[in-house]
């Protein structure tokens, strides 16, 4: 089975016309995904994923060394659900708001029912009486699967450039 390429460069496997057809679907998905996170409705977040999904957040350093560790490492939507519930109901942390800024998605390939894509993100964090800071920046590496007219994530690898994280990462990216 082919796996997502998390470092280095490989040319897109779809032509410009096909990429232009797929890009709005992916873009719509990503905008809605981030709207849920930025509004703080964390328990809604797992519904963007397929049941048998992979979700991982890891540093570019790990991706380049082909190391498997994740700041968050989840196999399957139930694990995402558990994380969302833990964060929204049980965890202790200072109140904060998050804002995602996204680039246009890059369509990397189309494999059967799957769309492979990338998207750069910037994640801003704002604490009480703190400045708005650049908390994380990097790239989503995604495998989408079609679900009727919509998409679901079968895999989202969140690679972050920022090598030293300011204190912690509370919410999903």
């Amino acid at each position: 089975m082919m796996t997502l390429q998390l470092s280095g460069y490989a040319p897109s496997r779809v032509d410009a016309r096909r990429a232009a057809e797929l890009r709005p679907l992916v873009e719509h998905f990503n905008i809605e995904y981030c709207a849920v996170l930025d509004s703080g409705h964390i328990e809604e977040w797992p519904r963007f994923f397929a049941e048998d999904c992979i979700y991982r957040i890891t540093a570019r350093e790990n991706a380049e060394l082909d190391m498997p560790v994740g700041l968050v490492y989840a196999e399957g939507r139930p694990m995402l659900h558990d994380r969302a519930v833990a964060i929204s109901r049980t965890q202790m942390f200072a109140p904060r708001t998050m804002t995602h800024l996204l680039s246009a998605p890059r369509i990397v390939g189309e494999e059967g029912q799957e769309i492979w894509a990338q998207c750069n993100y910037v994640l801003l964090q704002t604490l009480v009486e703190g400045p708005t800071t650049l908390h994380l920046a990097g790239t989503y590496h995604d495998r989408f699967v079609r679900d009727g007219d919509e998409l679901l994530l079968r895999e989202r690898q969140v690679i972050h450039e920022s090598s030293v994280i300011a204190n912690d990462l509370v919410y999903p990216v």
């Binding site: 540093a59 694990m79 049980t90 200072a94 204190n167």
Partner: protein, 431 residues
């Protein structure tokens, strides 16, 4: 260098005086705020503790398996390079060119035949000896180094190195005791459970900056009291509740190292008595996970404990949280900040499924871990609190009178033990 952007960045003047202006509180059950906030105290710590008679963690051998492999690291806040020479020996030297001071090694890790400072291309071998100086004899018999210049007098600043079962330590001290004696048998016992000498497999890295004093991280892991209160995750899912078999072990010589240990009950979820529930605000009755695979404990160690968190003075934490293993290196960064560099690992002989289990369980720890992030938040709150407030002492009276090892989780004896040693090394008289 790595400080978060802050708006409120102020320390009360009385808490930032010269170290000699302070006296230690007469009562051993109090810790003065200035140990966390004074720049002068911090500088004395760097000299007497990190550069003093201590062994500092710098690397795992699995990170530099072959001759020529190297990694950047730190001893205290000082950048060092850990390198493996052609004869297989490991060397640690400051990351500062002996010529004009450039921090010459810029990659986190890599492989090299020699180290060359990019500024004037002075070159050093893998043991830190000065090899070559361009134009050492000048050009056309003009310029160049004086006749008496000897390369061997101008190598990189080298540290002493020792290893145990694949863990590499370095020291500035010429007379620090051997590592085994430094750690004591009580601490070695659980250290050797994680590091029995079998080959490790590195699973990856986390790095974060905690806006708190470096000692708070030691204290947090010598404070079993917080674990059942702050960490609802532990409590809800029965990983640690007041009443589990547990221990807070301090090394019997100086109380500077510690092992916080607990044994998980067979049931996945906790049974908590009505009496204890009332004491624990974070307890959520009836919470269940949809996927509880990551609470599984594969009994892979010959140890009564399912969890051991070891603090090894002054800069190492060894994490064995059930099956998720890691070392955390503390890099002090001024009184108000520290870097934490996490290296997560398993063993070479792990099955692919065991590796995935370790990765899943890794969600408990790290900068986004269910436990990790709460600790980081709490310590940030403490640093902000002690810097800007009027009160000036921390109260550590639980299990009063006892110092060092504690049999109860509701104890601050290990914290008091650490500070008894700290006060002696730092040279303060009691008020």
């Amino acid at each position: 260098m790595y400080k978060n952007q802050e708006i409120l960045d102020y320390t009360v003047g009385a808490k930032n005086r010269p170290a000699d202006d302070y006296a230690w509180p007469a009562d051993d059950h109090l810790i003065p705020d200035w140990v966390y906030t004074s720049q002068s105290v911090y500088e004395r710590e760097m000299e007497r503790i990190f550069k003093g008679r201590s062994w500092n963690f710098v690397a795992l051998e699995a990170e530099i398996p072959n001759p020529g492999d190297y990694k950047r690291s730190y001893v205290g806040p000082v950048p060092v390079v850990v390198s493996r020479a052609d004869d297989g020996s490991i060397h640690v030297f400051e990351n500062r060119c002996a010529h004009r001071g450039a921090e010459f090694c810029r990659s986190s890790r890599g492989h090299a035949k020699e180290f060359v400072c990019p500024y004037h291309q002075w070159s050093y071998d893998l043991k830190g000896n000065l090899q070559g100086i361009p134009f050492k004899r000048g050009v056309n018999k003009q310029g160049g180094m004086p006749r008496e210049f000897r390369n061997e007098d101008h190598g990189l600043l080298k540290l002493r190195v020792t290893t145990r079962h694949g863990v590499v330590f370095a020291s500035y001290s010429a007379d620090v005791e051997p590592l085994e004696e430094y750690l004591t048998p009580e601490i070695l016992k659980d250290f050797d459970v994680v590091f029995p000498g079998k080959p490790l497999r590195i699973l990856g890295y986390y790095k974060n900056e905690l806006p708190c004093n470096w000692k708070m991280y030691h204290e947090n892991l010598k404070d079993p009291y917080h674990a059942t209160l702050l960490h609802s995750f532990l409590v809800v899912f029965g990983l640690l509740v007041a009443g589990n078999d547990s221990a807070m072990i301090a090394d019997p010589v100086h109380h500077r190292h510690g092992t916080m240990a607990s044994a998980k009950k067979e049931d996945k979820y906790a049974a908590v008595s009505e009496e204890n529930k009332k004491e624990m605000r974070s307890f959520h009755d009836g919470m269940r996970l949809q996927d509880d695979r990551f609470l599984e404990f594969v009994k892979e160690f010959d140890s009564p404990w399912s969890v051991t968190m070891q603090t090894i003075w002054p800069n190492l934490v060894v994490q064995r949280e059930m099956n998720t293993l890691g070392v955390r290196q503390i890099v002090p960064n001024g009184p108000h900040s520290m870097l934490m560099i996490w290296t997560m690992f398993g063993y070479e002989d792990d099955t692919p499924e065991m590796t995935r289990h370790r990765l899943r369980q890794g969600n408990l720890m790290g900068p986004a871990g269910f436990l990790g992030l709460e600790d980081n938040e709490a310590m940030k709150f403490v640093q902000e609190g002690v810097r800007r407030s009027s009160l000036d002492t921390n109260v550590v009276k639980l299990d009063a009178g006892n110092v060092g090892t504690a049999t109860s989780l509701i104890s601050e004896a290990a914290i008091r033990g650490m500070y008894r040693y700290y006060r002696e090394v730092m040279g303060w008289e009691k008020a």
